[in-house]
C-alpha cells in the first residue's frame, strides 16, 4: 500500500505525460465542438439557450455535467474515504434536491421565462429593480461557486501531476503551476462561453458527463470485482483499513460530531448538520446555472424529461461515489490518503492508481489509470466553470444591460455582444479572485453558494410562480434579505474567523455558532418575501393570470 503515488518517483513522468495528453485531447475535442457551435450561433436564443433544440436526454446529461462538479467527484469520494458514512449522507442531499427542481420549478420556469432566472421573477413586477436584484444574486452565487472550483483546480494540479514541493514541472514550481492552472482553466472557460455560447457549453457538459460516468463506472466495477460483488465485504474491509472500525459505517464522524462533556458544542454540531441538509435540498433549484439549463429544450415536457434523466444520472453517480469512497478507504487506506492530501481530495485518483496496479499490471497500469482519472477530473472542473460563467454573463447582459441600463431598447445583436464581453469580464474577475484566494480555505464557498441560492433565489421563485399577491417589494425583500442574511451569518461564522480551520485563522470576529447559515437564512428569506409583499400595496392580478396560465399551459412560451 505504501507504494501509492510513491510510484510517482519512477513512473511520474509517464503518468504526467499521459494525463496532459488526455487532457489536451479533451480540450481539442471540446474546442472543435465550440468552434462548430459558434457557426450555428446566430440569434440571442442560440447564444443564451442553445437554440432550445436539445433533447431530454442531451439536456439531462448536460445538467449532470453542470452539477457533478469536482467537489462532487473528488470531494465526496474523499469525504467517504476519510469519514465513511457521513460522506454518503452529504451526497444524498444533493440528489433529493432534484425533486424540488422537478416538482416546483423546471416546467413552470421553462414555460414562462426566456433566458434567465430574472425573466420569471420580473414577469409581473417592476422590471428594473427586480432584474437588478436577480442579477446581483446570480452573480454572487456564481462567483462563490467559480472561486471554489478554480482554487480547487489549482490545488489539484500539483497533486494530480505529482509536482512535489521543491520539484519543478516545465520549469514551474508547485506554486507557479497552481497559478498557471487557474489562468489556463479561466482562459478556456472564457473561450467556451464567448465562442460557443450555450450550444458549445452544453456539448462540453455532455462530453464531460460521458467521460465522468465512464471513468467512474470502470473504477466501480474494478472495486466491486475485487470483493466479488459482495458489498458487505467491501464495507468491512473499508472499516478495518480506515482505522476507525464500525464507527466508519455509521453517522457522526464528520457531521453532528458529539463532543463529550460539551453539550453546547454537540448541539451546534448537530444543528450544523441539519442546516447543511436544508441548504443542499433547497439550494439546487435556485442555482442560476442549473435554472438556465431548462431553457435549452423546446418545451416544458422535455424540460421535465431532462430532469428525470438528470435524476437518474446524478443518482447513479452518487451510488458510484459510495463504492469509490469505500473502495479508496479499503484499498488505499486512510493514512495513505491523508498523507497525500489532508482533505482527501486525491482519494479517487489514488484509488484509480491502485486499481491500475492491480488490474492492468504494475506501475505502468497504475500510471495509466491515474492519468485517465486525473484527466477526467480536469474535464469536470472545466465544464462546471464554463456553465457558471455562462449563467452569470447571461444575467449581466440580459437582465442588467438590456433591461436596467438600456430599458429594453437594446438590439439582440447588441445584447449578445455584451454577453460575450460580460463572460470575459466575469472570467477575468474570477481568475483574479481565485489567485488571491488560493492560499485561503475556500471549501465552504460551495456550501455558501447553495445557502444563498436557497435563501435568496428559491423563495422569490416559488412566491413568483404560486402566490398571487406577491409583488415587487416582496421580490426585492426576499432576494436582498435572503442574500444578506446568508452572507452576514457566514461572515460571522467559524468558517471565516475564530477557529483553526477558518479562512482567517488568526482573526476572531465570530459570534454565529454554525458553519452553514441555511437553517436561519432560508426561513428568513421566505419571511422577508412575505413581509415585503404585505407591506406594499402593489398587486397585479392581470399579470399574475398571464403568468399562471402561461406557466401551466405553455401558451406563449418562447
Amino acid at each position: 500500500m505504501g507504494t501509492i503515488l510513491a510510484a510517482e518517483a519512477t513512473n511520474g513522468s509517464t503518468s504526467r505525460t499521459l494525463t496532459i495528453t488526455l487532457f489536451l485531447v479533451f480540450v481539442a475535442i471540446t474546442l472543435a465542438i465550440t468552434v462548430w457551435a459558434s457557426r450555428q450561433t446566430k440569434t440571442a436564443t442560440d447564444f443564451y439557450a442553445g437554440g432550445r433544440q436539445f433533447s431530454g436526454f442531451q439536456n439531462g446529461m448536460a445538467i449532470g455535467g453542470d452539477y457533478m462538479s469536482a467537489a462532487s467527484f473528488l470531494g465526496i469520494a474523499g469525504l467517504i474515504a476519510l469519514y465513511g458514512y457521513d460522506g454518503f449522507l452529504y451526497s444524498i442531499g444533493f440528489l433529493v434536491a432534484w425533486l424540488v427542481a422537478l416538482l416546483l420549478v423546471a416546467e413552470f420556469l421553462r414555460n414562462s421565462g426566456r433566458y434567465t432566472m430574472a425573466d420569471v421573477l420580473a414577469f409581473r413586477m417592476r422590471q428594473r429593480p427586480v432584474r437588478t436584484a436577480a442579477s446581483v444574486s446570480t452573480i454572487v452565487v456564481s462567483i462563490f461557486y467559480l472561486i471554489a472550483q478554480m482554487v480547487g483546480a489549482g490545488a489539484l494540479v500539483s497533486l494530480l501531476l505529482g509536482i512535489k514541493p521543491g520539484a519543478t514541472f516545465l520549469g514551474m514550481d508547485a506554486d507557479t503551476a497552481k497559478v498557471a492552472t487557474i489562468i489556463l482553466v479561466g482562459a478556456l472557460m472564457i473561450i467556451y462561453v464567448t465562442v460557443g455560447g450555450m450550444k458549445g457549453t452544453t456539448y462540453v457538459q455532455i462530453v464531460k458527463a460521458f467521460m465522468l460516468m465512464g471513468g467512474a463506472l470502470i473504477m466501480v466495477v474494478m472495486v466491486l470485482a475485487h470483493y466479488k460483488f459482495n458489498l458487505s465485504a467491501l464495507l468491512g474491509d473499508a472499516a478495518d483499513q480506515s482505522g476507525k472500525g464500525s464507527a466508519f459505517l455509521e453517522p457522526g464522524l464528520r457531521y453532528g460530531v458529539e463532543t463529550a462533556g460539551d453539550a453546547a458544542k454537540t448541539f451546534y454540531s448537530k444543528m450544523d448538520l441539519l442546516s447543511l441538509g436544508l441548504a443542499l435540498v433547497l439550494g439546487t433549484a435556485g442555482l442560476p446555472h442549473i435554472l438556465t439549463r431548462f431553457y435549452t429544450v423546446p418545451t416544458s415536457r422535455i424540460a421535465r424529461k431532462s430532469v428525470l434523466w438528470a435524476i437518474g444520472i446524478i443518482g447513479t453517480f452518487y451510488l458510484f461515489t459510495l463504492a469509490l469512497g469505500f473502495g479508496a478507504a479499503a484499498l488505499v487506506g486512510g493514512a495513505n490518503i491523508t498523507a497525500q492530501d489532508k482533505a482527501g481530495n486525491t482519494a479517487a485518483p489514488q484509488l484509480a492508481q491502485q486499481l491500475g496496479i492491480d488490474y492492468l499490471g504494475g506501475d505502468t497500469g497504475g500510471s495509466i489509470m491515474l492519468a485517465v482519472i486525473a484527466a477526467v477530473a480536469f474535464a469536470t472542473i472545466l465544464a462546471v466553470v464554463a456553465g457558471l460563467t455562462l449563467a452569470s454573463s447571461s444575467s449581466l447582459a440580459h437582465d442588467f444591460y438590456a433591461s436596467v441600463i438600456k430599458r429594453g431598447t437594446a438590439s439582440e445583436r447588441d445584447e449578445v455582444r455584451v454577453a460575450r464581453i460580460s463572460a470575459l469580464l466575469i472570467g477575468a474577475v474570477a481568475i483574479a479572485l481565485s489567485i488571491f484566494a488560493q492560499s485561503l480555505n475556500v471549501a465552504f464557498l460551495v456550501a455558501l453558494a447553495f445557502a444563498v441560492a436557497a435563501s435568496a433565489n428559491l423563495p422569490a421563485i416559488l412566491y413568483s410562480l404560486f402566490w398571487r399577491r406577491f409583488n415587487t417589494a416582496g421580490a426585492l425583500w426576499s432576494i436582498y434579505g435572503g442574500l444578506g442574511a446568508a452572507v452576514i451569518l457566514v461572515f460571522f461564522s467559524p468558517v471565516v474567523s475564530g477557529s483553526a480551520t477558518a479562512m482567517f485563522p488568526d482573526q476572531d470576529w465570530q459570534w454565529f455558532p454554525l458553519s452553514n447559515p441555511g437553517i436561519i437564512s432560508i426561513p428568513l428569506g421566505f419571511f422577508f418575501g412575505w413581509l415585503g409583499t404585505v407591506l406594499s400595496k402593489e398587486t397585479d392580478p392581470e399579470k399574475y393570470a398571464e403568468l399562471e396560465v402561461r406557466s401551466l399551459t405553455g401558451h406563449g412560451a418562447h
Binding site: 433529493v96 425533486l99 422537478l102 415536457r301 421535465r304 428525470l308
Partner: protein, 117 residues
C-alpha cells in the same frame, strides 16, 4: 403569441383551468412536504438516533446505509410517479387549454358572454 390580459383572466377563472391547478397543486405541494419530511427524518436520525442507525442488518450493512439507499429509492420513485401522473392527469388538460387559447375558443366553464364567472 401571448393572448390579451382579459383572455388570460378569463382562462384563469375557468372551471377547466381551476381543475388543472387543483390537480397540479394537490400533487406537487403534499409530495414536496412529504419528501422534505422524509429526508429531514433521515438527517435527524443520523444526528440523534445513532444507536438505531448503527444496528447491523446483513453482514456490515446497517440501518443507516439502508436508510440512505431508501432516500435514493424514494427519489427515483417520486420522480417516476410524478411523470406518470403528469402525463395522465395534467398534460391532457394543459393541452386542451393551450389549444383553446391558441384558437381563441371559449374555454369550458366560462359564462355564455365569454366573461369569467
Amino acid at each position: 403569441m401571448p393572448a390579451s390580459a382579459e383572455r388570460y383572466l378569463e382562462v384563469q377563472n375557468s372551471d377547466e383551468f381551476t381543475r388543472l391547478r387543483h390537480r397540479l397543486r394537490s400533487f406537487i405541494f403534499p409530495t414536496t412536504v412529504a419528501f422534505i419530511v422524509w429526508y429531514s427524518l433521515y438527517v435527524l436520525l443520523s444526528a440523534y438516533a445513532r444507536d438505531f442507525m448503527s444496528i447491523k442488518l446483513i453482514g456490515n450493512i446497517n440501518v443507516a446505509l439502508i436508510f440512505g439507499l431508501l432516500q435514493f429509492v424514494s427519489t427515483f420513485v417520486i420522480a417516476w410517479y410524478y411523470s406518470r401522473y403528469a402525463a395522465q392527469k395534467l398534460d391532457p388538460l394543459a393541452d386542451d387549454l393551450y389549444k383553446e387559447l391558441e384558437n381563441g375558443e371559449k374555454v369550458a366553464g366560462t359564462t355564455a358572454d365569454g366573461s369569467a364567472h
